[in-house]
């Protein structure tokens, strides 16, 4: 068992702030990327997430007729909460908030909660476009979730543990991203999918009048937009112990390396998301089941053979 200390519960108060800082960096990258593609200035892109935040926090909230307010607000508030719950099992250097022996399954369970939340965000406002977008997300989820589960299983099998710190420690010398490229690629792709972002933004895309965002306004809209960046940042942070050797690295120390690697993954995801076209879920379904599922199962087989050979 690697040396890892469980942080005192008071540090839990810092987790949302830390994740918000990471997600803000991601939102800045996305803002610059989007502004540059429209031919705008870099500075306008840098400040765009903050001007949008200040605009939305001052905007008055609008609720459609006969909306299911309870379920809608569970969904709107739930997405940022799920993002925070995802990262409590991720070790930041030598400390972790919740040293769960089944941290990887916990992360998986939290990303499944997003199935419910995206659909409820579509059901809540009692409006056609969000409802269709929520259903569309579940169609996509059926295609990406099983490959994601096997992509999460591969590092766990190779490390012989479901504890996130054990998986990070098992990669001394060679990162899992190097010899499990399929699992890493499917993990990154699924992170975009459960955040409903970029090519997988089926729940909240302009082709459906904004989907689940269509009826949101004010702080509700801010929570959904920020929640998306928070979930994406949580996925990027989890990629570090799973595939990128955790805090290992020369000179800078494990905490700095964890943050730097997470920033690099997040930047890659945000830039890729802005440059890829939307994939229709009904087309991705076949890709997920016919291509991604078999190759991720093979990836787990490779991991199992290597783990048995090394044992």
């Amino acid at each position: 068992m690697p040396d890892i200390t469980q942080a005192a519960p008071v540090w839990a108060a810092l987790v949302p702030l830390g994740l918000l800082a990471l997600a803000s960096a991601g939102a800045v990258v996305a803002g610059v990327s989007a502004t540059r593609m429209r031919g705008g200035a870099v500075l306008a892109g840098v400040i765009s997430p903050f001007t949008e935040t200040s605009r939305l926090l001052r905007q008055r909230r609008r609720v459609p007729v006969a909306a299911d307010r309870v379920l809608w607000h569970v969904a709107i508030g739930g997405i940022p909460v799920v993002a925070v719950l995802m990262v409590v099992v991720v070790p930041i250097g030598p400390v972790v908030l919740a040293d769960s022996p089944v941290g990887i399954v916990w992360f998986n369970a939290m990303d499944v909660l997003l199935w419910a939340l995206w659909w409820l965000a579509g059901w809540g406002p009692n409006s056609a476009h969000p409802l269709i977008a929520g259903h569309r997300f579940l169609g996509l989820a059926l295609a990406y979730e099983l490959p994601l589960m096997f992509a999460l299983t591969a590092p766990a099998v190779a490390a012989g543990s479901l504890r996130v710190a054990d998986v990070a420690a098992a990669q001394h010398g060679l990162w899992f991203a190097v010899w499990m490229p399929v699992a890493f690629a499917v993990y990154l792709l699924s992170t975009l999918a459960f955040s409903s972002w970029g090519p997988f933004a089926v729940a909240a895309h302009a082709d459906l009048a904004g989907g689940v965002l269509a009826e949101t306004s004010g702080v509700d809209r801010w929570l959904m937009l920020a929640g998306r960046h928070l979930v994406l940042a949580a996925g990027a942070l989890m990629a570090v112990p799973l595939f990128l050797g955790g805090g290992a690295g020369p000179l800078l120390g494990p905490v700095v390396w964890t943050v730097l690697k997470a920033l690099a993954v997040l930047m890659f995801l945000e830039l890729a998301a802005g440059r890829l076209p939307l994939i229709r879920p009904e087309r991705f379904a076949e890709l997920g089941w016919v291509v991604l599922l078999p190759v991720t199962v093979l990836q787990v087989l490779v991991a199992a053979v290597v783990a048995l050979g090394g044992a």
């Binding site: 089944v102 369970a109 909660l113 199935w115 419910a116």
Partner: protein
């Protein structure tokens, strides 16, 4: 102490959410009340230090309820599930059956001579669960899994409006299936 508090709060939430399933008038609320009840049960398992089982109950049940909500709304057909509706039908027979089952289960819980704890709990419950599933309980798993899988495939075959003859022609000779929406892989 903390475990006891979490256990009792989860227990109350599980029962209250279970009652809500039948008291509410909306398909979506009933479905997600059931999901909340299962999440509370998962938290109760976590307080027993059954980490894997607790987390997997949350994972599977939320996934199941998300899909079940679609089926509930889809299959309600003439009685529009998008409108307020009662969640109880056949009240008298349901009450009788529920009462009998409750009495039976409660009697079993109280009267069955449960074996005492003969040994200390294992350190790694996830590993011992895996060893039970892949060892002594393998026969059960091998019998139940094919039956469940056959049920899924059978339901899909019966429920799907288009079969292989519609996709590949009467003699199954077509190079490309004739699908209303292209699958994405280009087969």
């Amino acid at each position: 102490m903390l475990e006891a508090i979490v256990f009792w709060i989860s227990a109350v939430v599980a029962v209250a959410a279970g009652v809500t399933v039948f008291r509410t008038d909306s398909m979506a609320r009933a479905t997600y009340a059931l999901a909340a009840s299962f999440v509370a049960v998962g938290l109760m398992l976590l307080t027993f230090a059954l980490d894997y089982l607790g987390v997997i109950v949350i994972l599977m049940m939320v996934m199941e309820m998300a899909i079940m909500a679609l089926f509930m709304i889809m299959l309600m057909g003439m009685n529009p599930a998008l409108m307020p509706m009662s969640m109880v039908h056949g009240k008298r027979s349901a009450a009788v059956i529920a009462g009998l089952v409750f009495v039976g289960l409660a009697a079993a819980a109280l009267l069955v001579p449960w074996p005492g704890a003969v040994e200390a709990p294992v350190a790694d419950t996830t590993r011992s669960l895996g060893e039970a599933v892949m060892g002594s309980k393998m026969l059960v798993m091998l019998t139940v899994s094919p039956v469940l899988f056959a049920t899924i495939v059978g339901a899909l075959v019966l429920g799907h409006p288009r079969n292989r003859y519609q996709r590949y022609g009467a003699d199954l000779a077509a190079d490309h299936p004739d699908d209303p929406i292209d699958g994405g892989v280009g087969r």
